[in-house]
């Protein structure tokens, strides 16, 4: 199968650009999602940290306040403000216990409970007026409890700080990973883009080279054709007309009527030959049949001529009405068929060629099929094939060559109407 190089390039370009755009979109979307997730996680961590710090602060504050209250109370347990103090201590106890229940490890919770138990016991003793020795013992106990509790609270605070720092570290790690992934993806997109751009450039350069080579070949072919026509005009028509002039001039000069007749006879035969030469030259440029009789008779004539010259069996399968086409299509189809036939004669070593022309509502299709030796359609691209392709492409049609070594060749041209 051989399709237009241009269309192949277009397809390739479309696909690779599409892939690039898709890749960029996926990369961007993934980055956004990951970023969002990290931010959510971070803010959750921050909120948790703030909550824990708050609880811890409440425990600490409660303990301090309770220490002061307890001291005041123990100094004068029977004074006027004592019941209020006791009441406030109770509230503080509730408060710190809620706080520890909400947020503290078992250690701290145990300590807090023991502290309050001790405090309760002391308050009880104080109201019963205990001995100063017992009092002093309790106070020592109380200080010890308080201090160890505050130590635990401090260590919890430190742990919280550590945790927060770890969270921060973790999210900065996540950020770094996100950055790396993003950089990698962008690098991938850029390098893929470069590959596509480079590939496209190389392909374009090849196409340009092909086009240049083709136009150079076409120019050369055109020049050769012109030279051949010029030579024929000069050699055949020019010489014939000169000899005609000689004959007529001589006839005008001589007296003898027999001699005059001889000159005129010679002139007649020269003129006949000239007519034939003009007809032949004109036919080689463009068969008048195409204009006088239409496409199908012209194809039939071409088939017969090629058959006569090469011994090929050329068949034309077409209704006359299939040839009723616009002038541009007429010429295109005729030239493609002509070139394909030439290829059959020159390269295919075929015995039989079938030319089929079908006209449908919106297209007209030409097939030229031979039983020759075929070729690798993807590889070989002569001037003839390129020329046919170009003609068809100019009318917005599709051109195909199907061939395999040993399997013959089919040339298809489909033109829109």
């Amino acid at each position: 199968m051989l399709d237009g190089v241009g269309s192949k390039t277009r397809l390739l370009l479309t696909w690779s650009l599409g892939a690039l755009v898709l890749l960029s979109a996926v990369t961007g979307a993934t980055a956004l999602v990951v970023f969002e997730r990290i931010r959510d996680e971070e803010s959750a961590q921050r909120a948790q940290f703030a909550a824990r710090s708050r609880w811890l602060e409440r425990i600490r504050g409660g303990i301090y306040r309770s220490g002061t209250l307890a001291r005041d109370y123990f100094v004068a347990p029977n004074e006027a403000g004592a019941p209020e103090m006791l009441q406030e201590l109770k509230t503080l106890e509730e408060d710190t216990k809620t706080a520890t229940a909400q947020y503290a490890d078992a250690n701290l919770r145990g300590e807090v409970a023991a502290y309050w138990n001790l405090l309760d016991l002391m308050a009880d003793m104080a109201s019963k007026r205990a001995t100063p020795g017992v009092d002093a013992y309790f106070r020592r106990q109380l200080r010890q409890r308080r201090e160890s509790m505050l130590q635990i609270a401090d260590s919890i605070g430190a742990a919280l700080d550590r945790e927060a720092r770890q969270d921060e570290l973790a999210s900065s790690l996540l950020y770094r990973r996100l950055r790396l992934v993003l950089i990698a993806e962008i690098a991938l997109v850029i390098s893929l883009g470069m590959v596509v751009a480079l590939g496209t450039r190389r392909r374009l350069a090849r196409l340009e080279g092909d086009a240049r080579a083709l136009s150079a070949q076409l120019l050369q072919a055109q020049e050769q054709e012109r030279r051949a026509i010029a030579r024929e005009l000069h050699d055949e028509i020019g010489q014939s007309l000169s000899s005609l002039l000689l004959d007529v001039g001589s006839a005008a000069r001589v007296e003898d009527s027999a001699e005059i007749r001889a000159h005129l006879q010679s002139a007649t035969s020269v003129a006949e030959r000239t007519v034939e030469a003009v007809r032949r030259i004109a036919l080689s440029l463009r068969p008048s049949m195409l204009d006088d009789l239409g496409l199908v008779p012209a194809l039939e004539w071409q088939a017969r001529e090629v058959g006569r010259r090469s011994g090929l069996d050329v068949q034309v399968l077409a209704e006359d009405s299939a040839g009723e086409l616009p002038e541009t299509h007429l010429t295109c189809i005729y030239r493609v068929a002509q070139e394909a036939l030439q290829n059959c004669v020159r390269h295919a070593a075929a015995h039989r060629v079938r030319i089929a022309l079908q006209k449908a509502a919106k297209t007209v299709m030409l097939h030229v099929e031979d039983d020759g030796r075929g070729f690798l359609a993807g590889r070989t691209r002569g001037l003839g094939l390129l020329g046919m392709e170009e003609r068809v492409a100019q009318l917005g049609g599709r051109f195909r060559v199907q061939s395999e070594p040993g399997r013959g060749t089919t040339v298809t041209a489909e033109l829109p109407l």
Partner: protein, 216 residues
């Protein structure tokens, strides 16, 4: 006797004037008018009429073959002689199909056109000898290529006689009168001939007769 009125249709003025000079030398022929393309020829025939139209094959606008077909359709009594550069059978067949009875090469118009006009005027066919020769030669080559088998051998004596008269331009009725047959029998012969020779329509019959050298 009335002179034959001829319409000259050719897009080249120099050829038209040459033909006019040629025809006006004849006592029985008068050039009634000239047309520079097929359209003009058709219009002239509708307006003025003529006995014979001498028509160039290739003309701009409406070409000669199409114009001939239109004229024959509208004026069946008028004869058409095609003037052509081409001896190719594709041209000859198309002209015959269009209803032309004469086919003259431009290069030999000087010696043949008058005879062609007279034949066509009388309802007969005329082909340039060179065209006949080429067609016959091609036919012989084709038979040789096909291994020497010639479907003409399948025709009976009678059928050959009928074929010759068809090709000369006679109608079924004329042939029936000449050969003392019924029109129906001639029609049957015609059908059989076409079947045996694988021909379609009178134009191909005539072309075949020319190829065979039956039409002299």
């Amino acid at each position: 006797m009335n002179r034959t009125r001829v319409l000259l249709a050719d897009d080249h003025a120099i050829l038209r004037s040459g033909l006019r000079l040629l025809l006006e030398r004849e006592p029985d022929i008068a050039v009634a008018g000239e047309a520079t393309d097929g359209r003009e020829a058709v219009d002239w025939m509708a307006r003025e009429g003529a006995d014979v139209v001498v028509m160039d094959v290739g003309m701009p606008g409406l070409n000669g073959i199409e114009a001939a077909a239109q004229i024959v359709r509208r004026h069946p009594q008028a004869g058409v002689v095609m003037l052509s550069m081409h001896s190719d059978e594709t041209y000859v067949l198309r002209c015959l199909r269009a209803g032309a009875r004469g086919y003259v090469l431009k290069e030999s118009a000087e010696s043949e056109l008058i005879a062609a006009i007279r034949s066509v005027r009388e309802g007969r066919s005329f082909f340039s000898p060179k065209v006949k020769r080429l067609l016959q030669q091609e036919h012989i080559e084709r038979i040789r290529a096909a291994g020497g088998s010639d479907s003409y051998d399948l025709l009976t004596e009678r059928e050959r006689e009928v074929l010759q008269r068809i090709a000369e331009g006679h109608s079924n009725k004329e042939i029936a009168g000449r050969l003392c047959l019924s029109v129906l029998t001639v029609e049957t012969h015609r059908k059989n001939i076409q079947e045996k020779l694988n021909l379609h329509g009178p134009a191909e019959l005539v072309l075949y007769a020319v190829r065979k050298g039956i039409v002299v």
